[in-house]
Symmetry: C2
Subunit: 177 residues, 2 copies
Amino acid sequence: MRADARRNLEAVLAAAKTVFVTSGVDAPAKEITDLAGVGVGTLYRHFPQRSDLIVAVLEQEIDAVAASAAELASQHEPAEALRRWFRGYTDLLATKPGFAKALHSGDPAFAALPGYFRERLGPALAGLLEAAGVRAAPAEDLLYAGAQLCSAVATRGRDYTDRMVAIFVDGLRYNME
Amino acid sequence: MRADARRNLEAVLAAAKTVFVTSGVDAPAKEITDLAGVGVGTLYRHFPQRSDLIVAVLEQEIDAVAASAAELASQHEPAEALRRWFRGYTDLLATKPGFAKALHSGDPAFAALPGYFRERLGPALAGLLEAAGVRAAPAEDLLYAGAQLCSAVATRGRDYTDRMVAIFVDGLRYNME
């Protein structure tokens, strides 16, 4: 890909990430392309379907959370790195209720996302748990529990999910060996 | 109510509790009355609709969990009493997936149950939290979080819900003042 094409793609992804939060994943294409400073043709060339764009944005966010594990581990004690990482992971879920809806739409375009989620985030969390000496449960179960607690954000609010996630992470810290 | 009528009612409730677990809440009336040793007429006189019987059984189980708080508090240290109580509460939820389905049926017969649940279990848990010096969240939020974690019992199994609830309760113990 040429450098300007890559810049356009990155601008579209960054704009879509912002617009999905403010206007939802069904926001008009023009809202995204105006923010990105590209033509609508550029958007549709890279992402023919809206689901393609949603997948790309979510994969990028998953990648960012996965990559943050190494950075946090280098900057904090293991228990604190674990706490901060889990908080970042659940922030991703709690701020993206539209994604959960899209993921459960039954659209085959989203079929690979749960696997991507587990394959990228599972090892990231497993490394932090290992460093902190937490063996209370497999990383995949803890990812699932975090997602369960965050699923109530629409009905019980962000204060609730933040408090419950904090208690859950304290439970992991309680289990450090 | 006469003594023999009361005995029959208690036998029906005890039998229904057992049959609901083994055969589900839609089990045939005769399965319940055979186990209780009463006629089908006795069942329908006390509980004209199946939903009436489900409500009565669930209220009885809620009452038992609520009442266990005082007993546990008298026999164990506050942290251990809290741990055992929450385990008993989530056991109730994890072993009764049919109840959750009934509760979400939209049948007006179940409309009062969530309130009953909160009014009986909220103060029971609040007392244990107070005794243990845990002020991380209101009792009602913790009841809800326990229910959220247990809601995965059908898809992820009892091992999962037991482990996640244990971690969550460890998080409460981590927050003892």
